[in-house]
């Protein structure tokens, strides 16, 4: 504890704060003259003084230093090799979380159900992009294009081909994946920055085509999409020819919430599937190959792996998941228009992935929920959403550069049982 030093340090910080914030916050224009707003500056400077003082006091103690140092371990600190089969508290809780999520819509209003549907759609998108960016290390700035292809696949598919939700689901996934392949094949020989620019362009091309090809897509007016059906039961007050409305079949009163509860449950199932898929993929040769490619492309090529097809498979897998998410999005709103697929959506999905941690599954789920729910909870601050967001990202990058969740790698044993004993502690360099 070094109170005197801390006090001095905080005092200097306060003076600097006065210089920085004084003119900006203290002088308020009033017509051609200006007024001095001293209390506002005083509050800011006070906060900075107290904050700095407390921070200095904390790091002058051993405990405080240890606390901050744990963030600075960097790479090795955020990857842990653990025994397989050890179930973390989280893994044990998954069935309960799923069950809770499944019964949740029966207790909350329509408004919150739609918000949660959107959050789940973003989980899907986050998981999809996490395969591309997190596992394969391909920076994709136009991911929203595949989301748009999925959504328009349902809307236009029903308009021109008369397909319903259930057919559109796999069709859109395949369609998005083939678009991924068409885009990917020529450009995947490129690296990092170049690839990012090309994908950014691709995202914009898709949006502009949807916006301007009015004859086919109805342009900015958008297109309507059919809602999801349960074995041909429609969630409408009066069903179309040859269909029975859900409420009549079950002899209950019509309630418009039913439709949303149904989509909610469908998206939840899709999220569960996607989580399972991601969980398996990282343990499969293809998932390992993606991670290897992210780590070191040169080594991959020297080991007989075709980096183009491996990248392509990641691209297509991510695109397919985004396509499915798009179908859910279209079915939720019953309407799609190009404005929903602007670049900022791509950035938001990328933010979810970075925030959650490249390659992490749980992290992406938490990040998606945070990104969608926080602005809704803080409705009155929603204008500042991106400010808060930016701040969160900066803080994240400083304290957890590898994402919210520590990445775990499985320890693997031979049939003879080799590898079971741990001789050296993690992080200790053996000779």
């Amino acid at each position: 504890m070094n109170i005197k030093h801390s006090f001095l340090d905080a005092f200097v910080a306060a003076i600097l704060a006065t210089i920085v914030f004084g003119p900006i916050m203290g002088i308020v224009l009033d017509g051609y003259s200006f007024n001095l707003d001293v209390p506002r500056v005083a509050i800011i400077v006070g906060i900075i003084f107290v904050g700095r003082f407390v921070f200095q006091l904390t790091i002058s103690t051993q405990g405080g230093r240890d606390f901050f140092q744990q963030f600075e371990k960097g790479r090795a600190g955020s990857i842990e090799v653990t025994d397989p089969g050890i179930k973390t508290v989280l893994a044990k809780a998954i069935p309960f979380i799923m069950l809770a999520a499944a019964i949740l819509p029966f207790f909350i209003g329509k408004y919150w159900i739609t918000i949660l549907i959107l959050a789940y759609i973003y989980i899907l998108l986050g998981l999809g992009l996490n395969i591309v960016v997190g596992l394969a290390g391909l920076l994709d700035l136009g991911f929203v294009a595949f989301y748009a292809i999925g959504a328009y696949g349902l809307a236009l598919g029903s308009e021109y081909l008369g397909i319903g939700f259930w057919i559109a689901l796999p069709m859109s996934a395949i369609l998005a994946a083939s678009f991924g392949a068409i885009l990917g094949f020529p450009v995947l020989r490129m690296h990092g920055d170049y690839l990012a620019i090309v994908t950014l362009g691709f995202g914009e091309i898709i949006r502009l085509v949807l916006n301007n090809w009015s004859a086919f897509t109805h342009g900015p007016n958008g297109a309507s999409a059919p809602p999801a059906t349960l074995f041909n039961l429609e969630f409408k007050r009066t069903a179309a020819e040859g269909y029975t409305p859900f409420h009549e079949f079950f002899n209950i009163d019509y309630n418009s919430t039913h439709r949303y509860i149904f989509i909610y449950l469908l998206v939840l199932i899709a999220v569960a599937f996607a989580l399972r898929l991601k969980h398996r993929l990282v343990k499969m040769p293809i998932g390992r190959a993606w991670e290897a490619l992210r780590e070191n492309e040169i080594a991959c090529r020297s080991l007989g792996m075709n980096h183009v097809t491996i990248k392509l498979s990641a691209f297509m897998m991510g695109a397919a998941i985004a396509g499915v998410a798009g179908v859910f999005f279209a079915a939720k709103d019953g309407f799609v228009n190009p404005a929903s697929f602007s670049f900022i959506e791509s950035a938001l999905i990328l933010a979810i992935v970075v925030l959650g941690g490249l390659g992490s599954t749980v992290g992406v789920v938490i990040a998606a929920l945070l990104v969608i729910l926080i602005p809704e909870v803080m409705r009155e601050f929603s204008e500042y959403r991106y400010l808060v967001f930016g701040l969160l990202m900066v803080i994240m990058m400083i304290i957890r550069p590898r994402g919210l969740i520590t990445i775990k790698r499985d320890r693997k044993f031979s049939t003879k049982g080799e590898g079971a004993v741990v001789e050296t502690k993690q992080g200790e360099g053996a000779a």
């Binding site: 990857i79 090799v81 094949f185 040769p285 075709n306 980096h307 790698r409 693997k412 001789e423």
Partner: protein
């Protein structure tokens, strides 16, 4: 069946205005340990990058005689279209195929593995995973089997892990099997890189300065390991090395490169007494050599 595993005929490599390799020709005999030596900047690593498919040779023919058939390295990297392709649809089809799916990896699939001067590992993956990735072309890659974790998939995965442990034991790395590759010591990383290359079941392995940064004891162990590659794994070894003591000890045949040209070929004894080689290493004036 040729007794040479690799034939290089008039290989030239040009980077802009610099002719890095000028009509380099040599053969590597099956089962031999061949060393490629030469002063810095002689073009040794360029030769390696050409034969392992990392560079496309400007001209010259590179042929691998592995897996019971000759493989043209130029061809698998993808060649430009020729006028007579129009009349030979089969040739055109093969060109298109290699343009789309060809590349460096085909050289490894043909049976030539390599290591790098600056170690190229997957640092954030475990040692076992590094070795499993090298078995990518032999494991069960079925999406269905993997997602549903079928019995066949589990067996294939376990087999790849067991193979990895086998090699780790040979290279004395078993204790580090579940550590991250990036946190191992330099010497261990070198050994892991060689083990990983062997995991791809090559018939020939090209080692780029394997002894760089190793202490004398480690170099000694490495020399034994290289001999073991030949005796136990039945591989042909080609290496670039600056440690002359080791080169003279392990290699059957030495090729000396200087300024992109082969200045001498022969057994270690022949090379030791070759005036041109001595001149290249000690930097004697050109006219003195001629004299």
């Amino acid at each position: 069946m040729s007794k040479n595993i690799l034939t290089i005929d008039k290989l030239s490599m040009r980077f802009g205005g610099i002719l890095a390799l000028d009509n380099v020709s040599f053969e590597v005999e099956k089962g031999s340990i061949t060393a490629l030596i030469g002063p810095n900047g002689a073009g040794k690593t360029t030769v390696f990058n050409c034969i392992t498919g990392f560079y496309k040779a400007t001209s010259g023919a590179l042929t691998l005689h592995t897996r019971q058939e000759p493989t043209s390295i130029n061809k698998v990297l993808g060649q430009p279209f020729q006028l007579d392709d129009i009349f030979k649809p089969r040739q055109l089809a093969s060109r298109i195929f290699y343009k789309m799916f060809g590349g460096t990896h085909r050289v490894n699939m043909a049976g030539l593995a390599r290591t790098f001067q600056n170690i190229q590992l997957f640092n954030d993956l475990t040692v076992i995973e590094n070795l499993q990735i090298a078995q990518h072309n032999t494991v069960n890659k079925s999406l269905f089997a993997g997602v549903f974790n079928t019995k066949a998939f589990k067996e294939s995965e376990q087999a790849s892990i067991d193979r990895a442990y086998e090699l780790l034991e040979v290279f004395n790395l078993t204790a580090d099997a579940n550590r991250l590759a990036g946190e191992m010591s330099y010497g261990q990383q070198r050994r892991l890189e060689i083990a990983r290359a062997i995991c791809t079941n090559p018939e020939m392995i090209a080692l780029d300065e394997p002894a760089a940064g190793l202490n004398p004891n480690e170099t000694e162990a490495l020399a034994k390991m290289i001999q073991m590659l030949r005796t136990e794994f039945k591989m042909t070894v080609m290496l670039i090395e600056h440690d002359m003591g080791m080169v003279m000890k392990v290699s059957d045949f030495i090729i000396v490169l200087d300024h992109g040209e082969v200045i001498a070929k022969g057994t270690p004894d022949e090379i030791l007494n070759n005036p041109k080689v001595i001149a290249a290493y000690l930097g004697v004036d050109d006219d003195e050599v001629a004299a």
